[in-house]
Symmetry: C2
Subunit: 394 residues, 2 copies
Amino acid sequence: MQSEYNEIKVTPRILMGPGPSDVDPRVLRAMATPLVGHLDPEFLEIMNESMDMLRRLFQTNNVLTIPISATGSAGMEAAFCNVIEEGDEALICVNGVFGQRMTDVAERCRAKLTLIEADWGKIIPPEKVKSVIDKQKFKVVAIVHAETSTGALQPLEEIGRMVREHDSLFLVDTVTSLAGVPVKVDEWLIDICYSGTQKCLSCPPGLSPITFNERAMNAIRNRKSKVQSWYLDMNMIERYWGSERFYHHTAPISMIYAFHEALRIIHEEGLENRFKRHRLNASALWAGLEAMGMKLLAQEGYRAPMLTSVGIPEGIVDLNVRKKLLGNYGIELGGSLGELKGKAWRVGLMGHSSTKRNVLFFLNALASILSEEGYKIERGLGIDAANQIFNSIS
Amino acid sequence: MQSEYNEIKVTPRILMGPGPSDVDPRVLRAMATPLVGHLDPEFLEIMNESMDMLRRLFQTNNVLTIPISATGSAGMEAAFCNVIEEGDEALICVNGVFGQRMTDVAERCRAKLTLIEADWGKIIPPEKVKSVIDKQKFKVVAIVHAETSTGALQPLEEIGRMVREHDSLFLVDTVTSLAGVPVKVDEWLIDICYSGTQKCLSCPPGLSPITFNERAMNAIRNRKSKVQSWYLDMNMIERYWGSERFYHHTAPISMIYAFHEALRIIHEEGLENRFKRHRLNASALWAGLEAMGMKLLAQEGYRAPMLTSVGIPEGIVDLNVRKKLLGNYGIELGGSLGELKGKAWRVGLMGHSSTKRNVLFFLNALASILSEEGYKIERGLGIDAANQIFNSIS
């Protein structure tokens, strides 16, 4: 019998939105490896190697450093629900959608919340955190490293020291930053750190890398109540990923194959080279966009190289441009969320998508489309400015 | 730079444990399709087709019929945490590990629990359910269709009618049964039903198909408190899978490609053919095992064709046999969980793994290994009995 639906056919895309990013064909190929069981000795070895490579990416020695079997948002939930018990005090820094999401998640864990807010696109000033934690004790202080809704890159080191001095747990979202800029979990005194696979790791969405240090694990082991999520309970997940290999849930085998290969590619390139590549391509993109008269929204000096928020010029209709980019060029560009919706685009240069070719291709395509849409611009300005950056370093 | 780890190499396996099952190469190939964005019009179409094919598999018209972005255990959690609020009364039927897990999950949702228990391997008698719900009102009555820890297959129709008469929500785990035996969500008056992809659907682990009818959705929409899991909150997930396409979390694109292809394969074969194939291969396996003097543990007349629990003969050491099966034949067999640990094996004939070839291959391999291990047996008995079944229908 024929199914009435055809096999999947997709048009080739260049993924330059806020994620997923393009995936190296090696990762796709690894993912298509035939399955073994989730307790197969060969699979256990793949798990061990993945943990080791993930530790080096997070720059940590934490034993519990694993991919959670769900996407980055589940990592956020796992981070909060394991350490928060009813009535615990949590301080959450909010300067975009993902900080807001933290408050929603923490509230559902029955935390008592205190917020520090900053304008979207601006960072949270460390002294603001200091003034709050000097007055009140918190179990958890949470912050987003690279705010995916704005492209602001938050400095963490100083806040990490202050939080440790106050003996709170420092919980950091690195969904967008990990593998694109340094994330030094141990050096920066981060206690709980989670990420996603579909941004700078350039692995398909579906896993959430996470790491807990001993301080965090002690908080979890000494809970009075059970973790409210069975699926994300680290007390049990630790026993599967650790030497005990106790069955918890069936691991997503194929996704972990992909994850293993994505990590191999990252360490082949080398972390420093990878961060440099992200910085260079972002600098060229920024120079190009600014030469075209467009405005970068994240605070200068604190821009995340993997995700750029740029204002939509007056009179230009968001969706018209994005539809043309996708339809005529196969380029996926991100719209914006929350208060920036319709006012800004988000350009991703993440992992495998962060290439000189993509920067040049995108700037040319955008210049053409903006001209068609009536934006007055001399076509070559953007590409010339970008090329100047590329040429200056070669 | 070279990574110190090599690319993944795995030994070919025949997956005959309790899941994952073998995956059709077509599914692996579909999974390796290059990524598009999770809001790409082409991806939205793939989502729509997947929902449609999943509805036909669940035999339901429920609008909210989707794969959750995490494995089957997260499906269990989503089922409970969306409808249960603190203090709600839940009746849970327990005759194995997954019924027990339900009690743990429901407790973490702060339900008040009442249990109906049966011996492992036995079904829950419908009249037992009746006697309890006649006396007390429950918000939810939960039961496992095919108990993966024992291989017992629970009849649902009568219980479904009783639960509806009492105006409770009927919550059913079909992780192991779906796509191997009929699961008639609408006809059996099931309100909430979840499954996993890695058993009879023969798609890699990583998603949990789930369906909620209008009665269940009304309970969710009329909650007094927020769903405690942000990641699994159906109020929000419904808005992404529905026409609104509201961003919630990044969908696991590649897994959904695989899911789409696995569903296509299921409907090409046709549900009735697929169920018949599972029954036939199980009958042959059972005849073979019994001819070898081994004991099937699930109650006669209520055995799940996709998962067979068989007692380990006296004097035979569980792990010795499973290691030889894996090492010499590449066959993965399941050990047992909970009170059956070390006393029984679990033989899976799920989805793509349910073939005549696998039955014959396995019975021969098992006979050889058991002989080596000192179990007195005439080698050909099992295979002859199985062949008799196969020949009788051809």
